[in-house]
Assembly symmetry: D2
Homo-oligomer: 371 residues x 4
Amino acid sequence: MTEPREIGVGMLGYAFMGKAHSNAFRKAAYITWPPPFVPHLVGIAGRNAEAVQEAADRYGFDYATDDWRRLVDDDRIQLFDNLGPNALHAEPTIAAAEAGKHVICEKPLGRTADESYEIWRRVAATGVKHLCAFNYRFVPAVRLARELIDAGELGEVRHFRARYLQDWGDDASLDTWRFDATAAGSGALGDLMAHVVDLARYLNGEPESVSGFTHTFLSGREVDDAVEAAVAFANGSVGTLEATRFAHGHRNALQWEINGTKGSLMFDMERLNELQVFRADGDRARGFKTVLVSEADHPWWNHWWPPGHIIGWGDTFVHEVHHMLRAIADETDVAPVGATFEDGYRAAEICDTIVRSGRTGRREQIVYRSL
Amino acid sequence: MTEPREIGVGMLGYAFMGKAHSNAFRKAAYITWPPPFVPHLVGIAGRNAEAVQEAADRYGFDYATDDWRRLVDDDRIQLFDNLGPNALHAEPTIAAAEAGKHVICEKPLGRTADESYEIWRRVAATGVKHLCAFNYRFVPAVRLARELIDAGELGEVRHFRARYLQDWGDDASLDTWRFDATAAGSGALGDLMAHVVDLARYLNGEPESVSGFTHTFLSGREVDDAVEAAVAFANGSVGTLEATRFAHGHRNALQWEINGTKGSLMFDMERLNELQVFRADGDRARGFKTVLVSEADHPWWNHWWPPGHIIGWGDTFVHEVHHMLRAIADETDVAPVGATFEDGYRAAEICDTIVRSGRTGRREQIVYRSL
Amino acid sequence: MTEPREIGVGMLGYAFMGKAHSNAFRKAAYITWPPPFVPHLVGIAGRNAEAVQEAADRYGFDYATDDWRRLVDDDRIQLFDNLGPNALHAEPTIAAAEAGKHVICEKPLGRTADESYEIWRRVAATGVKHLCAFNYRFVPAVRLARELIDAGELGEVRHFRARYLQDWGDDASLDTWRFDATAAGSGALGDLMAHVVDLARYLNGEPESVSGFTHTFLSGREVDDAVEAAVAFANGSVGTLEATRFAHGHRNALQWEINGTKGSLMFDMERLNELQVFRADGDRARGFKTVLVSEADHPWWNHWWPPGHIIGWGDTFVHEVHHMLRAIADETDVAPVGATFEDGYRAAEICDTIVRSGRTGRREQIVYRSL
Amino acid sequence: MTEPREIGVGMLGYAFMGKAHSNAFRKAAYITWPPPFVPHLVGIAGRNAEAVQEAADRYGFDYATDDWRRLVDDDRIQLFDNLGPNALHAEPTIAAAEAGKHVICEKPLGRTADESYEIWRRVAATGVKHLCAFNYRFVPAVRLARELIDAGELGEVRHFRARYLQDWGDDASLDTWRFDATAAGSGALGDLMAHVVDLARYLNGEPESVSGFTHTFLSGREVDDAVEAAVAFANGSVGTLEATRFAHGHRNALQWEINGTKGSLMFDMERLNELQVFRADGDRARGFKTVLVSEADHPWWNHWWPPGHIIGWGDTFVHEVHHMLRAIADETDVAPVGATFEDGYRAAEICDTIVRSGRTGRREQIVYRSL
């Protein structure tokens, strides 16, 4: 066996997402074997010099810096991973791509559809690989769902409904960039609804129109707390979409369901190893199967444990990083398994359309720009 | 103990709902004890003479008739129970009330808000007791939810979301009055969404505006197959509402959830004996409780079995009938535990507003007429 | 159609089980249609004259009496239903059978295997129909399980495990005949374990040996509070059996599971409308199906509602009574769908063998007597 | 901040458990921060030279060897981790300890109670730290359960019941050392029941007596396929214990439940992030809470993600390794959070007692040897 090649990684951001991504790069070196590349963690950037140095020590980066341009300028870095606050997505990501580095950018790609489009346009022009880090595409149960749908097991789709319920937002004293309109761009919309619409597109194709609105419960809060919408899809299916940080009892409940003429699927991120599968096959024992997605022939499970030994939320990033490394190594496409920046832009366009629907009080068509 | 008094009952309709209501009248005579009245099943009417005679034999009515006016004219009947097709709700119900009989009418009250308003107006003018048979108010778990909400256990409400999922509609060969626009008025809207909006009002108060639409999947079908809406309530909460006959795997899944500043509640009609209760009380063991609503101090459970010995869907009608008999016997109000014809009208107004929203493509305000 | 014939019913006992059985007789007249017989509730007996008179008024018996012999002597009674305290099972049941009446007797049949054997022997000699009221055989999900097993869907059985968990016993101040050794004979053993072993036999055939014991937690309590056993079956399968009144959080949780070479089934009485079905069929979507046992082709569901409209615990008695009436009307066998007095005796023999195992500290063989 | 010190690790075994332990050592370097030691993976040993070399490359060991004695002789190794087949537990573990290395040994500690006792005795005499890798003690939900029990939240315990259900054993063609009597010592007993009895002891204290047996379904299989037992504990509680590889539909279902006078807890390893918590506190909303054990104040969660972002089975080993490193660094006790070799011996003693009970047909007392 030949020694796996190394790839140099630069990271912007170091907190919650920094831990998630660093962990993924480190595990990608041995959980998948042989890996497309062994990640070498070259540099990590952030504004708080002390904190970013500690992150470098902790996760094993060669150096820490408070200037992300150092990463862009570092020739040892071939892959730039941007997980900073939303306001810091555009400029560094574009700069890195234009410096010839492959790029990963956390969702939402930009703070608006316009900003997202611009990131996509500029990065696509460079020819590098780009992945928008919608990590929930890399949940084995979600991927299995997509495979079952692609195989026609649901027939014609009638409904897609989804909601992302969290419950940490109902506290006026919280201080985080996620409530800062400039830094975040939006609230539940970009943070949670972006995931919802990406999975909607991933599993059910393009939505055509939305009727809905964003809502802010707390006076003085700069961003939306919740989003509600009715939706119609290009494939003729209809449903509802929701995202909120005000649903007590739900910590991370991204729940979706899809109903077709031949069957249905249901999912809840709080039980991310499980997929509920219903088939209208005439069996007298009729009902949803609780499938523990951990079999040898399930997505990414060849890398893991024996059946029934479940994986965690953090492991979805391992699959994501692995997928990006594979795309770089083998010059394969990021999509459709992973989300590209075009997917990132499209999610933003849908989110903006919901905002517009709320403003106009009208059902609004979703219109995508192309390059 | 004095012998319970009898009350004469006349029934219009004899099929699915005829069995449900007849069973309720018969059980109400002994499950609740002593009952406000012992129901005497006097007459039952329907268009198919043979079938209605068999129903009379089966459920113990003194006579069968193919002319509902005979029931209206029968002085032995003090309570008229109308569970015929929707097109037969208005005229017989009004006639019975104007003949001085108390009236129960199945939901939807009328086929439209206008028709529903007219039924309410005419019946209210007579002074008889009137109940619109939204039997899901009489599920112990639903009633317990209302009691917890009334006691302030949820705090300020942030969200109400509900959906009624069934799966029998995706068959173009089905022949039932429920697909006949004249007989039914609407499809999933009046059949399922009416229940959703009644529970929304019962648990969370009045909705203020809706953005949504109805949808028909099958070409040639006269009525809607599904309804999708985003909703805002007068109490400041927001959410989504859905009803469909096209959700494979769900037989009778009326699911709702309510989130407040102090807690949350969840429910699914397919497990109607259970209520999920979350309290944001700082307990380290944080989560939804699966409450088996069958304790001695739970609604209507003094009438039933020891804890844990669950009741069925049919038993909700026993509570409903008992409630109506009590209201007649004691001259107490049907509302708010039960739905009056005003509630029936209001549900229809909301349903019609969703239809209007679909037609105009606009978010529509809900405007109720008063008497 | 000819008018259904009547059958005269006499009942001994009037409290919890009196309500359950009376309700069943009344509903059996119209839920199943046409019924084998229309039950005519002739007389009801009990020691508390006032209470038994109220029960007669409530449930519609022609008369009440404090002397069960009056029922035995009443020629209008063809079916004698004994649901009195366990100590009152033997003499009245035998007397009624010897008077030519068909007999239903609540479980446990007798307080011991000896007493149970004697009841069986004496009653069998008369030639009347006899049913031991193990009503859980009449849960549709349990019956469906049996049908799946009979059809070979599980293959060769490897395991049967079951437990009946309740939580009302941990209170020394409770006063009920169920804690009186003379009246009840035993505690959790006859009350709960009897159900467990009847379902074990019904679903998995005869147990061959048991190792276990009964246990009493509260000093001064006359009867056992819990039973624990390891068990081996004649078909080569093994498992555990448990019954307790001391399992906080479980109100009526009779849970069983059966594993075979081709599949598995699971059940919990607190969700009695559901059966969990697993098939080892190589499907990539591998898992237990949550089957809502309410389809038109499920056991007894032709009598009830559309799919998904669940039934209650009390309705299992309707099926039981219907089955007995059918056996009488058509001269068909009570077994194997229903439990006969032989089944009642065998359950008692197994229970006594567990007690003996506890006393001897040895694994004990189960030896049945025949007539 | 001072640089974390390194600790040299030697590992015996490289397959399934090799991946699990290697992953844990690598993650322990950064998930917990600052770590007690940064593990340096020095050497890995196994009989298949090619496979062990690949494992060394994959997980980052400095060298691979087919002679475990090289690890024992290597002064750079301070911690020896033995996860080879059961037959290889005793000699290398004892040798490593006697060479002054701290030791981790996979469960079962030895193939019999005698062998386990000998390992414990010899290792304890050296004074090194020893941990028997019962990793399920390191599931946050299990640890939370222990903390709730220690805090008295269950009151006096009445019942402990547990079962470990897997379903891969019903295939006579499988070829693995786990079916080799010499290599494994036993089947489901040492593999699964050992976990059950360790958790029984961890959560409920010492069992006093067992009545039960092991069972082998397949002719020609050298080891047991299933274990069934009734058990009584020193604290007065009773219950059942089971382990099997023949329960179709269950991949890794280690399920346990504990009932006390004040509440109950339930757990299933297939949903290892959840704990079911019942409190008999008189709340009208009475039921088990589904607690997603992922809060900041839950065991080990300070190291992980925001609430609701679940962890996987593999992460339990991270906690276990971290705990051992902490014990070494701070000279603190492995017990009671972790299992020592004494715990490993005691689990083996209980397993052997069940075997003896099966042989004698008698209820057997559990008698522990001390040093």
